[in-house]
């Protein structure tokens, strides 16, 4: 689209440009309003060429118009010598998208259009990549916290963090890691990189306690990844809720401890009188006792049997009590 602003010698311009780029199709808008109308009507353009070579305009207003149009397509402006610098600075593609109308040749215009298109394509690719990252960031099932390494302040969080911990994004951004993590607070550590191994930490994992908005304490397994965003160091923490896994582990530990206790009781408490009884019967049967010892051995046998009886009753009682509880 060519925005003439009532200035451009269109015949000369199109003729000259067509010699260089035969495939270019033009749409002409007489002014900014018409250009806006065409865009609003759904027309799409690869490049917008704006002639601003006349000095009779208010720079601020024009700058705003350029910015609006340059968001739609790559933009090349033909400026007067006087305004060249200011307009260049206002364009997203900078000097590459600005030509001095008086001296510009079709070849230079073609070059400027191709350059502006290239920049536009790159900008679109960056925007698409940012969009993909944002999508991934927000749809990632684990919680992601982006924090300032110097203050521990939350710079960004994903939707999973919001839904799992219950704080709004706005509430997160007003807090620091230590406000949510009871364990980090107890350790006296405010920031990711200091907790996770100092300045040289690259990627580490550990479990920390975090509180949700409703006061529940969760065990979060955190993978710490420092990286640079926009030339600035930031801490990225990927957090997975492992509370139920840890709880399950503790239940298994308690059960194992109970089994160990049962095994110990069986071996040392229950089996002791049984083994004694067997040993007494063995020496009795093998004639290893004399007549004077007979009565005492029989008493020991009876006492051992009584001890076993008492233990078995005690176990039955404990089992019944355990079932009741």
């Amino acid at each position: 689209m060519v925005v003439r602003n009532g200035l451009m010698d269109l015949d000369f311009f199109t003729e000259g440009l067509n010699k260089s780029v035969s495939s270019i199709q033009f749409t002409v808008a007489e002014d900014f309003d018409e250009a806006q109308s065409l865009i609003s009507a759904g027309k799409e353009f690869d490049t917008i060429v704006i002639d601003l070579s006349d000095a009779k305009f208010k720079f601020n207003e024009i700058s705003l118009q350029i910015n609006i149009l340059s968001q739609q397509a790559s933009t090349v402006v033909l400026a007067s010598e006087r305004h060249y610098r200011r307009i260049s600075e206002a364009l997203p593609s900078g000097e590459a998208g600005c030509l001095i109308q008086k001296t510009a040749t079709p070849g230079e215009l073609r070059k400027a259009i191709l350059c502006a298109e290239k920049i536009s394509r790159l900008n679109h690719a960056v925007s698409a990549s940012e969009l993909r990252f944002k999508k991934l960031f927000n749809s990632y099932p684990a919680m992601i916290f982006i924090c300032d390494p110097d203050t521990g302040k939350f710079l960004d969080v994903n939707e999973s963090a919001v839904s799992q911990l219950g704080y709004s994004r706005k509430e997160f951004l007003a807090m620091q890691l230590k406000d949510l993590s009871t364990s980090l607070r107890e350790k006296g550590s405010l920031f990711g990189h200091r907790v996770f191994g100092g300045e040289n930490a690259e990627s580490l994992t550990q479990i920390e306690k975090f509180s949700t908005k409703n006061g529940e304490i969760l065990d979060l397994q955190i993978v710490f990844m420092p990286f640079k965003a926009g030339g600035k160091d930031v801490d990225m923490l990927l957090a997975t809720n492992v509370s139920s896994k840890i709880k399950q582990g503790r239940i298994i530990e308690i059960q194992n401890q109970r089994f160990d206790n049962i095994a110990w009781t069986q071996s040392h408490i229950v089996r002791a009188p049984v083994a004694r009884l067997m040993a007494l019967i063995n020496i009795f049967r093998n004639g290893m006792i004399d007549d004077s010892e007979r009565r005492a051995i029989l008493d020991h046998i009876y006492e051992s049997a009584e001890e076993i009886d008492e233990l078995v009753r005690g176990i039955a009682l404990a089992s019944n009590n355990a079932k009741k509880n």
């Binding site: 110990w264 040392h268 089996r271 002791a272 083994a275 004694r276 040993a279 020496i283 290893m288 051992s304």
Partner: protein, 137 residues
């Protein structure tokens, strides 16, 4: 190795079982006389004064005892005895594999006998003692 003397200790808090063990050791010609202790601590105190080179000390050790149990006893004798002249025979009512394994991890333990100890157990034990210390009792 040529030991001048062999000393046998019986460490068990169950006096009836200690009596049975003394009888078994005597009947099976294991040793004419043994010293008895009803907890690990009194046995340690006795041995600290007497465990020396040239004498072989064999200790029949129960595991579950008051004051100082068999496990603690095995740790304490590391401070003053050597497996060259002291051997422990664990005698326990335990049939737990872990107890057997942990006991055999001690460099002093010659064998683990589960109660009730029978004559054939002592015969097997004599062979192990012979292998380890080069003596026949």
């Amino acid at each position: 190795m040529g030991f001048m003397r062999t000393r046998v200790l019986l460490v068990d808090d169950d006096p009836v079982y200690a009596m049975i063990m003394r009888k078994l050791l005597r009947v099976h010609n294991f040793h004419a006389h043994c010293e008895s202790f009803n907890n690990g601590l009194s046995a340690v105190e006795y041995l600290e004064e007497r465990c020396m080179g040239g004498e072989l000390t064999l200790i029949f050790l129960d595991l579950n005892m008051p004051i100082l149990d068999g496990w603690e006893f095995l740790e304490r004798i590391e401070n003053f005895a050597s497996p060259e002249n002291a051997g422990v025979i664990v005698v326990s009512s335990s049939v737990n594999d872990n107890d057997v394994k942990y006991a055999k991890d001690s460099r002093f333990v010659v064998d683990f006998l589960s109660k009730p100890v029978l004559g054939e157990h002592l015969e097997g034990l004599m062979l192990k003692i012979n292998d380890r210390f080069g003596i026949s009792l």
